[in-house]
Structure formats: C-alpha cells, structure tokens
C-alpha cells in the first residue's frame, strides 16, 4: 500500500495532470495528510477553497478509475466574493513553534569568587561570584547563575575626566578612601577599582610602598571586594602590584593586570602568594589571550578559579566592533570546551569616555547634524559600550558614571529575568495609538 504525504497545492497540481492523462492506474488508497494533524470534514471546510477543488478532482479520478467513488466527500466550491479573498484561508493555520537548545555548549565557564569575608580570612562583608555560565549571556539554553557586576573606578590622585563624570566626584578627588566610600554608598558599586596611576614614573613616580598604603586605606574605607590596578607602566607595575598584593593579603582582590609585554610572572607570583585572583589582559587578540592564560596556568601555577580575562574594551564608534566579536568568540570558544578561554571576563567600560561623542561640546566636523547637550551623550555612550559587551560575554564592568552604572545593572538584571527595579508591568499593546507628552 502506498501512502503519500504531500502539500495541498502539490496535490492540486498533481491531480490537474492526472486528469489530462489516459489509462493511468492508481493502486492503493489515496490518503491526504494535513500539517497540524486532524483531518475530517471540519478541517476540509476550514482550509477552504483549494481543498474543495482537490476533493472534487479526487472524486473524479476515483470515478474514472472505477475506484471507490465517494470515499472523499464531494464539496461545492465556496462562493467567494473576489479572487483575492479566495486566496486567503478562512482560519489561521494552527502552528506551534520551538527550537532546540545549542547542543555544543557542554562546557561551563569557570566561576571566580572575588572578596574574602571573615570566614575565609578576609574582612569583606560581601563577595562577588563571576562566571559559571553554560550559554551565551541571557540565553534560554541554560540559566545564568550569576548577575553582572559593576566595579567603579577610583584613582589615587585627581585625574582629567569628562565634565559629566567629574561632577560626581568633585568632593572626593583628593581622597581615594572617601572616593571609594562614595561609589559604594551613593552609586551602588559592587566593587571598587583602585587605580594606582600616580606610580607611573612620568606622572608622580609614587613609590610602591606609598601606593600600598592607599590600598590599605581603601580596604579600610569600604567592605566590598577590590580590584587593584597599576598605572599601566609595564616596567613599574610588577613592583607596585606586588607590594599592593602584599598589603591586601587574604582579601581575594583582583590584581590588574598581567600582560604579555611585562613581567607577568612576578605579578602572578604575588597574586598567588597573597591569595588574590589575577586579571589576564590582552589587546583584542584571541590567540594572545590563550597564550597568556596558558602561561599563567602552566608557567606561573595560577589556579583556574583565579583567572579573569580582560580582552580589551574599545569604545562605541572606536573599535567596539573588534572588541565585541573578540569577546563573543572567546565566550563561544569557552562554551564549546576551549580550556584556555573558559574564564569570566571583565571590561574597562570607562574607555567609552575616550570617545569624543561622549565628552566633546560640539562636533569637530562641520558636516554633522547638531550633537546636542553632551551631558546626556556621555552616560549613554558608556551604557551602550557596556551593554554590547554584556551581550557578548562580559561578566564584570569597570565604570565611572553613576547613571551608566545604574542603567547597566538594571537592564542586565531584566535580561536575566529580574524586574530591574521596575515598579509595574507594562502594557505594550497600544503603542501604536498612544499619545506621548512633550
């Protein structure tokens, strides 16, 4: 017995041909199956005109062949007002939609805990846990176990910054400890990054031991986990970070950072000895990131649970496309099992303030439309830069503007399924007809 499953229009076409043929023999029963299951008279009526034609033809064919005429009920074609309407089904074709989770994402991203409470020999009141994902950020394939966290930047001396940022810190620029308190109590920072930039020989050449005192002050001032950053001077940083790591012994800080262009072994050794995690920083190059992570593990003996990566953040409009894809590639590689890349990631989102759109009063290009007030451009630049990278795979954000911090935390919470602090459900059904004030 032959059972054929074909679509309605195929069948119609087929039968059209059949009617033109002579001497054709059909053996076996003809069975029509409809997508969506069911069958029977009701459905036939529902599907309408086309099926009516088919039924008529089938009946004819069956009759011609001397087969069981009447097996398919004969139906009058419906009376239809216009050819266009006749093409539209009478009822919606039922459907159910689903898609499979990604099967290759079998491997988890490492979890890294920052901050040590008294039970772990530290003095922090809170800790943060980064990573642990088994899917791209906010994807339905697997739950995202930990939220995104924000660390706000604090500097060990007053530095130049965009006016919109500076406004928030005017009163604390001279005191890293006060600055740190403010970002935690007022601006909701989960962590504080203390940048020891004054240690750069071309800035103030502050000694490593003086810098370590600043770290102690900040540890005293706040009880959240700390990120300790150098000045970015590859010659001075190893010494500075070593002293700072020692001063913060047992607090499980994140030491920022180790880079291939410097004596990363010395920094790694200090992090290990004094119980900190280490930030593995490379510049937009996935293979360099693999190499550095490998060296940290194999050469320096850093544990997997002590590595966070910073694959470099370029600002929106200034290379974010490279940063985005680099980070997305790293995360995807980790998920499918690259053991040299499956670590949580951090972003220097503050780099967004380097984009001229975030701080310049007017466009330097006369061809541009008006750029509008800069105090509104800056925070959204920082938000957009961070948000794109949150979607690509960044777990931890180093940021500066309080509004940016608040919005980024809120939106990433909503993407994880939280309410992001929103007070009520929103009815979106009538956006087409809504009146907007102002």
């Amino acid at each position: 017995m032959t059972t054929t499953t074909i679509t309605l229009s195929d069948l119609n076409k087929l039968l059209e041909n059949v009617l033109e043929l002579k001497g054709v023999t059909i053996e076996g029963d003809i069975e029509i199956e409809f997508e969506g299951g069911g069958g029977g008279q009701e459905l036939l009526q529902a599907v309408g005109y086309e099926i009516a034609q088919i039924a008529a033809r089938l009946n004819n064919v069956a009759g011609m062949m001397g087969g069981p005429a009447g097996q398919v009920p004969y139906m009058q074609p419906m009376t239809l007002p216009s050819p266009i309407q006749s093409r539209i089904p009478q009822e919606l074709i039922p459907a159910s939609f689903d898609v499979d989770p990604v099967s290759e994402w079998k491997h988890g991203i490492e979890e890294v805990v920052l901050g040590a409470t008294s039970s772990d020999g530290g003095t922090r009141k809170t800790t943060v846990t980064l990573g642990g994902e088994h899917a791209l950020p906010f994807y339905f394939d697997a739950p995202m176990p930990n939220p995104n966290y924000v660390s706000i930047d604090v500097f060990d001396m007053p530095i130049g910054m965009a006016r919109a940022v500076r406004m928030n810190y005017e009163d604390v620029l001279e005191s890293p400890a006060e600055w740190a308190k403010k970002v935690v109590s007022k601006f909701g920072a989960d962590m504080v990054t203390i940048h020891l930039i004054s240690t750069d020989p071309s800035i103030k050449d502050t000694s490593a031991s003086d810098a370590a005192k600043v770290v102690e002050d900040v540890l005293q001032a706040v009880d959240v986990p700390l990120i300790i950053g150098g000045s970015g001077n590859p010659d001075k940083d190893p010494e500075v970070l070593e002293k700072a790591a020692e001063a913060a012994e047992g607090e499980r800080c994140l030491i920022a950072s180790a880079n291939l262009n410097m004596d990363y072994q010395r920094i790694a050794a200090a992090a290990k000895e004094y119980g900190h995690a280490i930030l593995s920083w490379t510049q937009l190059e996935i293979n360099a990131q693999k190499e550095l992570n490998r060296k940290l593990m194999k050469q320096c003996g850093i544990e997997r649970c002590d590595i966070v990566m910073d694959p470099t953040t370029a600002a929106l409009g200034y290379g974010l496309d490279y940063a985005y894809s680099n980070i997305e590639r790293i995360r995807l590689a980790g998920l499918i099992g690259d053991q040299e890349l499956n670590f949580p990631m951090s972003s220097g989102t503050t780099n967004a303030w380097g984009a001229r759109e975030s701080w310049m009063a007017v466009s330097p290009l006369k061809e541009d439309s008006d750029w509008g007030p800069r105090e509104y451009r800056g925070p959204i630049w920082e938000i957009t830069t961070g948000l794109a990278l949150a979607l690509a795979g960044v777990d931890l954000f180093m940021m500066m503007h309080p509004t940016s911090v608040q919005v980024l935390k809120s939106v990433t919470d909503m993407l994880r399924g939280g309410d992001g602090g929103a007070d009520a459900a929103t009815d979106v059904s009538d956006w087409v007809g809504m009146m907007i004030e102002g």
Partner: protein, 464 residues
C-alpha cells in the same frame, strides 16, 4: 545559503573562465558567491538559455536563510533580512537594521513637516560616510481613517524615505494604502484578530506586511504560515518588545526565532521587528529616551532587522547609529591601513607633521578631522599592528624606535622637508616625548588627546 564551499558553487558555473564577470576564473567567481560579495546574476553566460536550470538551482542554493524584504521604492528603498549566520564573526551580517522614527496623525501640519525633515536630514559623518536614518513610521493616534490618509499624503509630499503605516484597524491601513501603496510601505500590523482583512490589503496592494503577536511565537508562526499559504511572503515578524519586566521573554523570542530561521525552519525565517518605542508607554523624557536606546542596542545586537523608535534627540540617535554600525560593519575588512607618510590637502615646508597609529579607525578619524577642517599637513602613520594610540603606547606597539622607522622607511626626512623640523605626537602618546626626541633628534610637540581638537590646538600652538 545551502552550500558553503566555492567548489559546490563552481559545479553550476559554465567553467569556461571567460572573465566576463571581472574575475579571472570561474572558481574565483565561485568564492565570491560563497562570501556573498557577488551574485549569480553577475556571470553573464549563466543567464543564457542553456544554463537556465543551473542558474535557478544555484540561485536557490545561494538564497540567504532569512528572507530579504524590500520596503519602499527607488533610491531610498531599504532591504532588510538576508542573514545567513548567528554571529557576525562567522561571516558578516547583511542589510543593517532599518531605523524608523515615528510621526502621528494628530500632529499639527507644521510639527509634522518639521519632524519628518529632522528625520530625513539627520546625518553623522563617520569613516568616510554619513550615518543616516532610514524610514518614517506613521502612527494612527486619531482613530480616523481620513485623517490618517491626509497625514500620510503630507509625509509623502515631504520625504521620499520609505514609510511604515501603523494601525491595527484595517480600515485605517486601507485609507493609508489608498494614497501610499505605490511607495511600497510596510503595513503594521496583522494580528490574530484582524489578519484576514490585513492579508487582503497586502494582496490587493502588493505591499510587505508586519505580523504582530506579542510574546506568542506560536501565534506568530501561525500567522506566517497562513499568510504564506495565501501567497504573501514579504513578511516581517514582530514578536513583541516588552520594555522592562517582560524584556527577558522578548529577548528569548528574538533568539529562538532567528536561530530557527538560520537552522532551516523556513516557516519563520523572516526579518524581525523590534519596537523600542513601547517604553514610552511607561515613562517619558530623558529616562524613556535612554531606555529606548538601550532596547534599540539590545535588539540591534540580537537580530532585530527593523525597528521603530520615538526619540530623535541627538543623544538617542548617536548611540543608536553607532551600535548599528558596530554590529553591521563587515568583520572581514582590514583592521590596519598601510604605514607611511601621507599628505592631507597640499602641505608645504611650513605645514605640521602629525603622527598617528595604523589602526584603520584611528587613521580615518584623524584624516577626516584634518581634511574636514582644511588643515594642510603631513600625517605619519606608524605600524602599531592595527592598535589605537592609547592602547599601543600601553602595549609597546607605539614607541620611539617605531616612529623613527616609519620616517626612515618612507624616506621622509623631517629636517629636510620642513623648515621647522618638528613632529607632533598625539596627546595620548605624550609620555613618549623624551624618547622620540632622543631617538630622532627632532623637536617633538604634544598634540591634543583627540584629533577633533587639532583646529583649536593649531590656533594656540602652531602658526604663533
């Protein structure tokens, strides 16, 4: 695309290596088909009668997974959809997300014309081109079909940008189409309530149509199947954009529908629409505008092919246009430009000599700042492995030796070519000043941190 290697495409080509396509061989042409930089139509012999079957098969095999839909006509028409991958680094995304901004039919005529002009005239210069907005979405807030038709006519008189006609009332949409059908607008939207009437409008006027089923992918698929069975395949799917509490569900719907489409579920492989402006239902002012840009960013990154926004403030448009450019820039384009000394304008012996990095973005930014402000000068571009100035100074890819090398290899002797014998370092490379002086023996000046400030810097630090 159903095939992924040039060899598979080559099978269907004439294999004569005639060169009419501009490529030396059929194989070379085949690789362009696979990376989608050329189309099958560009092989003239393939269009001949004898290759008819080959052409048809090949065109089928090469068709993108996500259907392309065209909105509008002529030069301003926009194509949306057409993607073949889920991640831009796997190939590139095609047809950047179309940005439509709203007007409504209860605006005064004066307001309406001004807003439409603001939308169509907006531009932001970026790496050699202008970033602009794409379309006008006309919302029916009056509930009155005639008023909607009049507004539509006024908008058409003011702009040639493609239109989106937005109302859930088929009568209103019909009135709009009566004036605008020739412009091939997208009609928004067919729902599980009005779908039969809207389908009739789409068939009668042959226009693309958006299907809307807020947070109900089953219903969305059902609508898509039903429309396709009626022969309407210029479809855009709106799975609903819930701005806050439902954001996770909306995000999930976009991910699932696009994944299904790329994986071969053709029933639902259509362009997706996001509506960030739903946020104006719950708040207003700067907070709504910020949140709207946030939603626009999310759905530009994850699979929105067209979206409707409300705020046209610069602080909304600038980030929205730039995140779109970020996502849709072809990742296969080179990161670096050639190193060397380049002339901007017509420099002479008194002209300044600037130094910058060979990261393509940095180079184009500096170059356009100089050119746009009519500054005649020399621009020394150092090979920093395609890394920007600040990062290259930190990472050691920009240093004194590399700068000297650059001038030497270009055969450009600053002492000889200029009267001043000075070079100008970017402000972000200020810490290299001493090293560069020692290494080159030249006078080293420190420019501003951002090349956009060069005109002001020139006034105070140069000519004087």
């Amino acid at each position: 695309m159903k095939i992924n290697s040039p060899l598979q495409a080559y099978e269907y080509l004439p294999k004569t290596n005639c060169g009419d396509c501009g490529e030396p061989t059929c194989m070379a042409f085949a690789s362009h088909l696979i990376d989608r930089s050329m189309k099958a139509e560009e092989c003239p012999p393939l269009l001949g009668e004898e290759y008819n079957d080959n052409y048809n098969t090949l065109a089928d095999l090469l068709a993108p997974e996500i259907r392309e839909v065209v909105i509008g006509t002529g030069d301003h028409a926009i194509t949306i959809g057409g993607d073949d991958v889920l991640y831009r680094h796997k190939l590139t995304f095609f047809n950047k997300t179309a940005f439509a901004y709203d007007v409504w039919d209860t605006m005064s005529e004066e307001e309406l014309v001004k807003r439409v002009n603001d939308i169509q005239n907006y531009k932001k210069f970026y790496i050699g081109e202008f970033l602009t907005l794409d379309a006008v979405a006309i919302r029916c807030t009056s509930g009155d079909a005639d008023q909607f038709a009049q507004t539509t006519a006024k908008v058409m008189e003011t702009t040639e940008l493609p239109l989106l006609l937005c109302s859930l009332d088929p009568e209103v949409l019909g009135a709009g189409l009566a004036v605008a059908a020739d412009r091939k607008p997208l009609i928004y939207a067919a729902t599980t309530e009005n779908w039969r009437d809207v389908a009739e409008l789409a068939l009668t006027h042959n226009v693309p149509v958006a299907l809307s089923a807020p947070n109900d992918p089953d219903a969305l698929k059902s609508l898509a199947l039903t429309f396709a069975s009626a022969g309407i395949t210029d479809l855009v799917l709106d799975p609903g954009t819930f701005p806050t509490d439902g954001l996770r569900d909306s995000f999930e719907n976009f991910l699932k529908i696009r994944r299904a489409g790329i994986d071969g579920q053709t029933d639902i492989a259509y362009p997706l629409m996001a509506v960030p402006m739903t946020v104006w239902e719950r708040s207003d002012g700067i907070s709504a505008a910020y949140w709207e840009s946030v939603l626009a960013s999310i759905f530009t990154v994850r699979y929105g092919d067209i979206m409707i926004m409300h705020s046209i403030e610069p602080y909304s448009l600038l980030p929205e246009l730039h995140i779109r450019d970020t996502v849709y820039t072809d990742p296969r384009k080179p990161v670096m430009v050639d190193a060397g000394v380049f002339e901007v304008g017509s420099p002479d012996r008194k002209s300044p000599v600037f130094i910058t990095a060979n990261f393509a973005l940095t180079y184009y930014t500096v170059e356009s700042d100089l050119a746009s402000n009519d500054i005649d000068c020399y621009l020394g571009v150092v090979d920093t492995d395609g890394i920007g100035v600040e990062a290259a100074v930190a990472g050691g890819q920009l240093n004194a030796a590399k700068i000297k090398d650059m001038f030497d290899s270009a055969g450009f002797d600053v002492q000889e070519k200029t009267d001043h014998g000075a070079v100008i370092l970017p402000g972000l490379a200020a810490r290299l000043q001493g090293d560069v002086e020692d290494e080159t023996g030249l006078t080293v000046m420190i420019g501003p941190p951002d090349s956009g400030q060069i005109p002001r810097w020139m006034e105070s630090k140069w000519e004087s």
